[in-house]
């Protein structure tokens, strides 16, 4: 009991960081589920108000160059970026985790070659890789998800492989082997549950990263077809009108990208400190 009390006191800041992160995520998630509750206008409504009017009571974030309501675009845009980022992070986890498990467990030539490939991709600037894939696949929600997902496969691979290497030397794995458990059983019942805690942390940090990669791709015009409200795309539109001092077109979508990424980072960091304090030391 004394230990528990002390640990909770020790992690008080981490708890608050995590809760703040969760609050941000839940708020934005609610926006994606019930956008019409938050915004009065349609994000593509070109008669929402005047052209490039500054924030006012009618349009709290002003209007853009096509007279669309910026707040409506912010609300509806959340859906795109959050969907792409979460789907991409899950996809890379689904591919990266089994590969990491197999590679770490099997060892040998297979492990060496796969590790070499993954390390090469990992050390290469992820955005450039995503740009190459996005250019190849062309615009589209699914394509941008794939382009973002490719970048993060090595993250999961390296993490899971490293953990598998140490877990497979544990006594309980040896015990499982001794009672004649098959390889598949050992991997799924004994090794996998032990890597999950770390994977959850990395998934959260990874979504934060994927959010910024998605925004970057659509900012440089490689992400989405026109018509889908998207924060990155709105930023690149706003950039054109920056010299005339139209500050609201770039301020709000950017702020949202930062908030959303921050939410997932805070959740991940909080979780990391609580679940496994050694993970983020380096």
């Amino acid at each position: 009991m004394r230990w528990f009390g002390r640990s909770r006191r020790k992690y008080r800041t981490e708890w608050w960081i995590m809760i703040a992160g969760v609050l941000i995520i839940v708020l934005i998630l609610t926006m994606t589920v019930f956008p019409h509750v938050f915004a009065r206008f349609d994000p593509n409504d070109q008669d929402a108000g005047g052209q490039m009017t500054a924030p006012s009571a009618a349009h709290i974030m002003g209007t853009d160059n096509l007279s669309r309501d910026v707040w409506a675009r912010v609300v509806y845009g959340a859906r795109t970026i959050l969907g792409v980022a979460i789907a991409a992070a899950l996809l890379s986890a689904i591919i990266g985790i089994p590969l990491g498990l197999l590679s770490g467990f099997a060892g040998g030539m297979f492990d060496r070659i796969l590790s070499l490939i993954m390390d090469s991709v990992y050390s290469f600037p992820g955005l450039i890789l995503a740009i190459a894939f996005a250019a190849m696949l062309g615009p589209g929600v699914i394509n941008i998800t794939l382009a973002v997902a490719v970048v993060y496969i090595p993250t999961y691979f390296r993490l899971v492989r490293g953990q598998t290497l140490s877990i497979k030397e544990e006594v309980y794995v040896e015990a499982a082997r001794a009672i004649g458990a098959r390889r598949g059983t050992i991997l799924s019942r004994y090794v996998f549950p032990n890597v999950i805690a770390t994977v959850v942390v990395v998934l959260s940090l990874n979504i934060a990263d994927a959010i910024m990669t998605e925004a970057a791709l659509s900012y440089i015009g490689l992400g989405l077809p026109a018509g889908i409200p998207d924060w990155g795309m709105d930023l690149s539109m706003g950039k054109k009108f920056l010299p005339s001092g139209v500050w609201w077109m770039i301020t709000f979508p950017g702020l949202m990208i930062m908030l959303l990424a921050l939410g997932f980072t805070m959740l991940g960091e909080g979780l990391a400190e609580i679940l496994n304090p050694r993970l983020l030391e380096r």
Partner: protein, 338 residues
Amino acid sequence: MRHLASYILTRFLLAIPMVFIMLTIVFVVLRVMPGDPVNAMLGGHAPQKVIDKKKEELGLNKPIAAQYVDYLGKLARFDLGDSMIFKQKVSQPIIEKLPATIELTLFGLLVSLGLGIPLGASAARRRRSGGDFGIRLYANVVYCIPVFWMGLLLQLIFGIFLGWFPISGRTSPRLEVSSFSKTGFYIIDTLRIGNIGAFGDVMWHLVLPAFTLGIVLSGIFVRLTRANMLDVLKSDYILAARARGIPERRVVYNHGLRNALIPIVTMLGLQFSLLLAGAILTESTFSWPGMGRLLLERIYLRDYPTIQGVIVVYTLVVSAMSLLVDLLYAAIDPRVKY
């Protein structure tokens, strides 16, 4: 000394598979792009015969495996091929644009180290205080700011509202670049001929892009420095230094920080690739005529050989950097065995 030479050689040989793997991935990715680049290049209405002839000229009618071997063969002779859109070698625009990117990334790195290391060290010194919390908050918030948004904000505040700095390009339009440009590194070029006015102009244009990149990446260096400092401050020699009555500031900054910097050097390699990625977005925001802008321009034009060439050069830069970092590490830490 022989050990060092063999270490360099081994490390160099180890870099080859990485370069090779990246080349292969990029080659395959670009070859399976949908849409016929040759058709697009000829305007989309050219007769089939013309298209086939052009394809033969470019070597695109051969099987992919043969194209791949051709490509590697040329690369081994440092030939990146010819552009498909312009009558120029792929290497020509790259040589023109690379210095701009290097200048930007180098100054971005300087800003981020200059901000990150002192902040990280001071956070570690007052661990779990308000100051520590504030600095960690800064590190996390800054890390979550998209580079291009940081660029837009700095442009808005310091370029448009305050009017202190220019928001695009490397020089003012009134400046005759051809009068000093020789290496492409404008800072070196202007200093070489002693044109202080031009040098000032170049530096003035560099401020906002370098700070954009530097501020965003400083968050990582804050965290790295803080974590390493916390480790170092626990060690016996710090205790010994304190026991000898050395003032706390000197213990932290002279004895502690110096040792904490060693692991940071090893992390520089990975951070460098973040820096390059950030530079692409910064270049796009500030109309900075570098490699990133070249890459994006050529993607819109579907100029495959150039796209490929640019990515090859990025790969080489990243490997060279990580090689350099390893050597640097071996040089500054006598405990490292070659």
